[in-house]
Symmetry: C2
Subunit: 527 residues, 2 copies
């Protein structure tokens, strides 16, 4: 299927449709329907198994609206923009990079020079000087003038701002992986192509923090995975992940781990390995925070589509938030630091001396209090001597900003690629060859005909399944062939048909979606 | 526990914290941590079982940003506001209803009169005339001046705008239930109380559409449920849902069904029935779209907290969108309408006559084409006679706007109420007595001590569980008693302890959270 055919199927079968159609549509927004919501949930569950459970990540669900200081610190306020050009004649607006051959370059000088020679595609007029246009949606918090806020352009900043809390949850230990599923927003100038370029989309993100020099090694289960790479320098080839790191094709072992995990996950979603590659970003293509980046891309009828970006963000974000907020975003380096001697109050001695006033005395002793300090007790002042203190030695470890590697999936694009690449056809028949785990329903329940008690029996099976929490799809409308065809189109992996024999011996037929083979089995064995 | 204690526990144990703390915090926004995300997911799964599977609802996931015409039609642009007053001296802003005794009245004249007699709580100054302040967050879509957009104040409008699509997915048939889980946004003037009044929150909403006069009856499984009501008129009492409808205490049978289902669901979440009630809205308290409304409220240390609103929205929304968009938002009434005779092209006859041009001829015959119509074939014009048509009779059913009943949960508030009402304490010990289904992890895995190979063995069990997709929590830090206490505080229902005997006979102890009783069992039997 090509793009138009996938979109037509998606709309017809309740997977997705452009949003706000009754109001003429708004580009860049989608509605997901009953089948689409199920597919999204199942893809997310599979992602969670591979990434959250697989890497022991802490999950977080942070706010979608963030305050201005957050995005000033992250660099999104000053860096996250497209170059916009306006026609001086007809005032039509264009994204500069779309006027120039190909997308993908972020070098502003090259773009500005290239646009200067172009003319308006609509009226032939000359262009104004290009100006940056920030891609964040802005809003205002609170009444009156309010304070500025922005819809997050990536879920990642929600993880970064919560890093101190997450580190405490992990008892101060690194490495620490944190994961988030949620909406992100980009005010694209010219969104096209349905789920491939959206203003509102869903990310499946993970941030894996570690101390520089203590980068996690590739897990055994992933080291021997073979992947297809398109590096900036050197030749493309299929090699094991471990070798690719050894040969320095991939710079970071954690980036390599996530390329392997993503390869495993994307192919487990049904995307053929032959249509998958990881392409390295050139220097001008990388985002402002990135030091190494690979895009997982799927080959579709519209070209290669990025479904995941795996980026080494170094300590860019934590350092930025640490400096902007003046809170501690660093982590201790184990085994480092110099010994220092310090005083601690001796609670026993203070208790014996001051009795019921002891708590008040202890409260007055701030950190670093030493012999000779004065405290007030019942209106009089006491100097506390040595006998009220203990001498202890402690180490103050060195604190440094952790580095982070981020695998970030776009759920909407991934779903599109799964739909297009799992589609199979044979003669008149077409079906989504989804892996069992992504089948939107456990099975189709269909009476051969909607009469003679067949429909009643089928509805009974349906109700029993739903009561047990088994998600099945009931369909009695049209010929059984048309019902099979409809179920095939949304990839339901099997169909249970209730026929006249069912009423006699409590057996049904189970039809396999891919082979169309049918087997007669007992009703009791179907769930 | 009181509110402060719940919030302290929630922050300490990775359930939730106020968002953007490093930046001084932004009122009305939260971060959910590893335990909070799990609890939210499990509550949502349980809701889905009761409401989505229980009522056969179609799920939808619609966009969070909507265009202005949508919210003009829904009434949110003109009606969804709070009355704001400004101090003429110090310019401090207040929500009018919070200055007047109690919350809950929406009558504007009463409010305006009451505020006129008040003075600024900060400087004693006089107030300006109250002005309405719209609670929607606004933004701008697209480059340049852009077009206005709003963050949805309820997920419901996403369902309403997609009604024509959903009705097609349901093959034109009513009743039709549609459900959505997602974020909604309200620019509260003075958000306080953490999860109880948020600017960004999560709704679990369902819209159940039906034709007036064909309202779905109470399902058998719910009819005998007993609930506690506080009606506007008449006495409060515990009666079966079916009787309450018979006595007209509840006006709508579908509203009654959802009150019963909500009662079942909320108590299944662990909230004691004795702390739950459904309170009817008075006329001035109801939202602009509502004709009957009941709030499910849980008694907490901060008073009664609304966790669900069950509203009869009549045909308000579909009619509004039908009129504003000039698209069809009505549904056919089965068995109605007058018979009309019409002509259909006879494909067989046209095929025989025009051979390879037949498709072109058929394309030229628009709906309503009748004998005598002229078509062009290879440059010449043919008039098609009676022999190319069939006379058929059809019925044009009457079209009317469906009515809708909406049970709408606030997930954040529900989670808060679950935390507060399931907390138990006994001496020094405190624990969340969550129902098994909401336990954030399947179990705690803990070595008795982190040495002598006990930790290795425990980690092995942990890894095996994760590999099987069983979500368990590993903890080796501190005394075993402290680890039990930490697990109790987040409601993990059981703990598996690896001790010296484990190394000899492959058994472990399983400790029950509520009774603290321990049993010795084989490792093989724990998952």
């Amino acid at each position: 299927m090509n793009f138009q055919e996938v979109m037509a199927l998606a709309k017809r079968r309740g997977i997705l449709q452009p949003a706000y159609e009754p109001y003429g549509g708004v580009a860049g927004f989608l509605d997901y329907g009953p089948v689409g919501v199920r597919l999204r949930r199942k893809i997310t569950e599979l992602w969670r198994k591979h990434f959250v459970l697989g890497f022991g990540a802490l999950e977080i669900d942070s706010a979608l609206i963030g305050p201005e200081p957050l995005f000033r610190a992250s660099g999104h306020l000053s860096e996250f923009d497209d170059l916009l050009v306006e026609c001086l004649e007809c005032n039509k607006l264009y994204r500069a990079d779309l006027l120039v051959e190909g997308e993908g370059t972020l070098d502003r000088r090259i773009l500005a020079d290239a646009v200067a020679g172009k003319k308006c595609e609509s009226c032939g007029g000359k262009f104004d000087v290009p100006r940056p246009f920030n891609l964040m949606f802005s809003t205002s918090l609170g009444a009156g003038r309010g304070t500025p806020g922005y819809l997050r352009p990536e879920t990642a900043q929600g993880i970064f701002q919560a890093f101190p809390w997450l580190l405490r949850q992990n008892r101060g230990k690194l490495p620490l992986a944190a994961a988030q599923v949620g909406r992100a927003f980009r005010n694209e100038i010219a969104p096209r192509q349905g789920p491939l370029r959206l203003r509102e989309f869903t990310q499946l993100e993970l941030e894996h923090f570690f101390l520089p020099g203590a980068e996690p090694e590739i897990p055994k289960r992933l080291a021997k995975m073979e992947v297809r790479l398109v590096p900036v320098n050197g030749s493309a080839g299929t090699e094991t992940i471990a070798d690719l790191v050894k040969e320095d094709v991939i710079g970071s072992s954690l980036v390599a781990s996530y390329i392997a995990c993503a390869w495993k996950f994307i192919t487990a979603c049904g995307v053929p390995a032959g249509k998958l590659r990881f392409r390295q970003h050139g220097k001008h293509e990388m985002a402002h925070y990135s030091s190494e980046c690979w895009d997982g891309e799927v080959e579709t009828s519209t070209g290669w589509v990025e479904v995941v970006g795996i980026a080494h963000r170094s300590d860019y974000d934590l350092k930025a938030h640490g400096k902007a907020s003046s809170r501690e975003f660093r982590a201790p380096v184990p085994g480092t630091g110099k010994k220092i001697n310090t005083w601690l109050p001796d609670k026993g001695a203070i208790g014996q001396k001051f009795k019921s006033e002891a708590a008040s005395v202890l409260e007055q002793l701030v950190e670093g209090a030493a012999p000779g300090v004065e405290v007030g007790v019942s209106g009089t002042t006491h100097a506390l001597g040595r006998e009220y203190f203990r001498r202890v030695s402690a180490t103050e470890p060195e604190m440094i900003y952790p580095h982070v590697v981020e695998p970030s999936f776009g759920l909407d694009r991934l779903l599109y690629c799964i739909l297009e690449t799992t589609w199979r056809s044979e003669g008149d028949r077409g079906w989504l060859a989804l892996p069992e785990m992504l089948s939107p329903y456990y099975m189709l329940i269909a009476p051969l005909m909607a009469r003679d008690g067949l429909d009643e029996k089928a509805r009974e099976i349906h109700a029993a399944a739903m009561f047990d929490g088994v998600d099945v799809f009931y369909d009695e409308k049209g010929s059984i062939g048309r019902r099979y065809a409809r179920a095939d189109e949304i990839g339901i992996s099997r169909a249970c048909t209730v026929d006249y024999q069912t009423l006699e011996d409590k057996t049904v037929t189970i039809r396999d979606r891919d082979s169309t083979e049918q087997q007669r089995v007992s009703i009791d064995s179907i769930f």
